[in-house]
């Protein structure tokens, strides 16, 4: 059978539905939608009278599926396969290698290990996305402790761990390190908090074969730089080292250099603020480096040539140099033509500088920057970067006196972008002005768009063309591949009709973030009649009542996760119970006053409106909530 399989391996990117014809040797079975045509081809071949003669008589369908299942990696396909019959369920369980839990509270650690004992890799997410924007209490939850303990006791094949927006302690890291030792190849503490450099040291000390170590955007206590030194002493396998957007101050450039020298496979390094001139040795040693982000430029009056002699590794093609200004920019010019990814979010470039640089990067595939790129920069992008696949335009400074001149993106830039960069798959942009026409052109030209996010900034009181009902409809109809969609406007930005369009015309969208859309509960009800595949819904600043939200949730068939901030609360606060149902957890973060430091250094109490969080769970209600989180218990 193995020989048969290898000669018949036909990968297919389209989903197929195949049935076997009835025959005495193979019972009729319906094969669920699978990514590979392999299975259906195998089974049909087994039906083929000529091939039947040469196949081994003891081969059964079950044997085939055992061989085939490992090749099926898409989780949705695995999900379908596991529903066919008990045997297929078992085979899927035994051979599943990776699981992503979009919310760690949807199940329990022991359920995970019981069902998938041979997991190689897990990704768990904790806090709601809003935590990245400082909206969620720090101690909200998402503790990795029970999961780490389960890994230690019951997941002996685990090699890769990714925790995102979770709380991790030094003890957790120590337990994980000692449980997996050299088997652990990848650890990603992605926007996590709660640990210190002691925990990192433990990981590095016990897990000598780490290939990926990531702490991007995590917050932790830095006691010393020993963890990096330990890595420099004993690791030769490292491929990815990432502590971008962290505040390490006690690390040593010499250790970075040693790591670069010892780890011949080191391809991606992202660090925090670090004077670039101290990295010269590192860059010389990291001969296979392809990606670098971080560092820091510190100009000196009287030394204009300070950074002019900086050279970079020959394969470097993904770059993001923090605080890079127009004077330093030319050091990229010698290899600009090979740059595929550029991160300018933390650079100090003006619109003109963007135009100059972008023109030199015809092979750019990924660009991240602030809105200082301006409409002019987007026009240049549309003209020069035909291969662009991903674009993120962040919100720059808007404090008066501190903002970038020309630092605005509007419909003008969007139209130029849509017409010019037709390979775009991901687009996230903060705009200062918008029109229906610009959204229409996105729908017309960007046929590959899978992920579209638009935020309308609140600086300008008058927007050229609101509401955006027709524009968003055209966009959704045109961008057929859209799976993720964010639309964050203001009052008057979208009528109830426009909101109904979003529901009606998003057949494939799995995740939505809607801000200040619609006018009344009617709009939400109409919206909820659509969205057939919507799994995760986030809403902010909307005018809907508790009652309408609960009713809408019950109508959206695939919805498994809801987050809302800003809504019309009921007088009793009990209307949310209208969406009570088995396995549906409902939690509230009631309105709070949070002391915060504003731009002027003054401490003010900021109002934080209430949040609703609701999700399907097999784990029952949470038992580890902080005081700020209230579980809506069964009445």
């Amino acid at each position: 059978p193995k020989l048969l399989l290898s000669t018949l391996l036909i990968p297919s990117s389209t989903h197929t539905h195949a049935t076997s014809s009835s025959s005495p040797h193979a019972p009729p079975i319906v094969i669920p939608i699978l990514d590979f045509d392999l299975l259906s081809v195998c089974l049909m071949t087994m039906e083929d009278p000529d091939i039947k003669k040469c196949r081994l008589s003891s081969v059964t369908v079950d044997d085939v599926i055992e061989q085939v299942m490992p090749y099926i990696t898409d989780p949705k396909d695995r999900d379908s396969a596991s529903l066919v019959c008990r045997r297929w369920f078992e085979i899927d369980s035994e051979t599943r290698e990776h699981v992503t839990m979009a919310l760690c509270y949807t199940s329990t650690p022991d359920r995970l290990s019981r069902r998938f004992p041979n997991l190689r890799s897990i990704k768990l997410k904790g806090k709601p996305r809003a935590a990245m924007f400082n909206l969620i209490p720090e101690n909200w939850g998402g503790f990795v402790t029970p999961w780490v303990n389960e890994v230690a006791s019951s997941l002996p094949r685990l090699k890769s761990v990714h925790f995102r927006r979770m709380i991790v302690s030094d003890l957790d890291l120590d337990v994980l390190a000692k449980a997996r030792l050299d088997e652990l190849e990848a650890l990603k503490l992605d926007k996590c908090s709660g640990f210190s450099t002691d925990g990192l040291f433990s990981i590095v000390k016990h897990c000598r074969k780490m290939k990926t170590l990531l702490m991007e955007e995590s917050s932790f206590v830095e006691k010393d730089g020993n963890w990096l030194h330990e890595l420099a002493l004993h690791n030769t396998s490292l491929e990815v080292l990432n502590f971008y957007m962290t505040e390490f101050a006690k690390i040593n450039a010499k250790d970075l250099e040693s790591i670069a020298r010892n780890c011949r496979s080191l391809v991606s390094v992202k660090i925090g603020d670090f004077e670039m001139l101290e990295l010269v040795g590192f860059f010389k040693a990291a001969t296979n480096l392809e990606e670098f982000c971080g560092g820091s430029f510190n100009e000196e009056i009287g030394r204009p040539e300070k950074y002019m002699n900086l050279t970079f590794p020959p394969k470097l093609c993904c770059l993001g140099l923090s605080y890079m200004g127009p004077n330093e920019m030319p050091i990229l010019f010698p290899f600009a033509a090979q740059i595929r990814k550029l991160d300018l979010i933390y650079a100090l470039l003006a619109t003109e500088d963007h135009c100059t640089l972008i023109q030199k990067c015809p092979n750019l595939e990924v660009l991240e920057t602030r809105n200082v790129i301006g409409d002019r920069g987007l026009e240049v992008l549309g003209q020069c970067c035909k291969k662009l696949k991903r674009l993120r335009i962040e919100r720059g400074e808007d404090e008066q006196g501190m903002e970038d001149e020309e630092g605005l993106v509007s419909q003008r830039g969007l139209v130029a972008l849509a017409q010019g960069c037709q390979e775009l798959e991901y687009m996230a942009v903060y705009v200062s002005d918008i029109t229906n026409e610009s959204l229409e052109s996105i729908g017309t030209y960007l046929k590959n768009l899978c992920d579209f996010r638009l935020v309308l900034l609140d600086q300008e009181e008058r927007i050229t063309d609101l509401p955006l009902d027709n524009g968003v409809r055209s966009l959704l109809i045109g961008c057929k591949k859209l799976r993720r969609f964010a639309f964050y406007l203001r009052q008057g930005g979208l009528t109830d009709v426009g909101l109904s369009y979003i529901g009606q015309y998003s057949p494939n969208v799995r995740w939505m973030l809607l801000g200040y859309v619609g006018e009344s509960d009617e709009g939400l009800m109409e919206f909820s009649r659509g969205c057939p595949k919507l799994q995760k819904l986030e809403m902010r600043g909307c005018c809907f009542s508790e009652r309408a939200i609960a009713a809408a949730v019950l109508k959206i068939p695939s919805l498994r996760y809801l987050w809302v901030q800003g809504y019309r609360a009921s007088t009793t606060g009990q209307d949310l119970r209208l969406m009570s149902r088995p396995y549906w957890n409902i939690e509230l973060i009631p309105a709070r006053k949070v002391p915060e430091v504003n731009q002027l250094g003054e401490v003010r109490e900021m109002e934080h409106p209430a949040h609703i969080l609701a999700y399907y769970s097999l784990a029952g209600e949470r038992t580890d909530c902080p005081p700020t989180v209230k579980v809506l218990r069964e009445a």
Binding site: M132, M245, I301, E405, G541
Partner: protein, 195 residues
């Protein structure tokens, strides 16, 4: 050519002379920055006739006819000027531009700002002021060389349009913008610790 400006106390500053407790320089700078945000509302309180007379006399007046002898309470030396700031003209020597623009000085709430303004542009300011509902004037906004769009942005006083739910930034972006601000301030020629 000696400086020719007419200084008019639009708001009766002499009554509002701030006390002489020296504020930290950065805070003063921030006060000034914050004042831009309030200027839209402030301008609406100006008697349009005053602006008209200022402009009319702008090109050919002989002496400064100051109504108020009060000195701006933020001395020039303490005015950190930001390279990207729209107000780049130093407050001392100013010459009339050949394009016909003259300095327009606005006193507000203890701070001083100066813009090179042509009569047309000043007219536009006037129009903005005189309309009952504040509106963004596109002709001014587009002229980056003189009047920065932000000072005429019709933003409500201190509040954004969403009230309690402002659009938030990610933490790393916020931190970066704070560091950027520190850099911009520290390289200003007026900041005492910079080169």
């Amino acid at each position: 050519m000696s400086r020719v400006t007419t200084e008019l106390d639009f708001f009766g500053l002499e009554k509002k002379q701030t006390n002489n407790v020296p504020k930290p320089k950065f805070k003063k700078f921030l006060d000034r920055r914050r004042s831009f945000r309030d200027i839209q509302g402030a301008i609406s309180k100006i008697n349009p006739e005053i602006i008209k007379s200022l402009l009319a006399s702008g090109a050919n007046h002989a002496d400064s006819s100051t109504i108020s002898p009060s000195v701006p309470s933020t001395p020039k030396a303490d005015h950190p000027q930001i390279p990207i700031s729209p107000v780049q003209a130093p407050l001392t020597m100013q010459t009339e531009h050949s394009s016909g623009t003259v300095p327009m000085t606005i006193f507000y709430n203890g701070t001083v700002s100066v813009y090179q303004v042509s009569p047309n542009q000043a007219d536009d300011i006037l129009k903005v002021v005189m309309e009952t509902a504040p509106k963004k004037d596109k002709s001014i906004v587009k002229d980056h060389s003189v009047i920065p769009p932000t000072t005429l942005r019709t933003k409500l006083f201190g509040k954004n349009l969403e009230g309690d739910l402002p659009i938030q930034r990610t933490r790393s972006l916020q931190r970066f913008l704070e560091k950027r601000k520190e850099r911009l301030v520290s390289i200003s020629p007026y900041f005492p610790t910079s080169g």
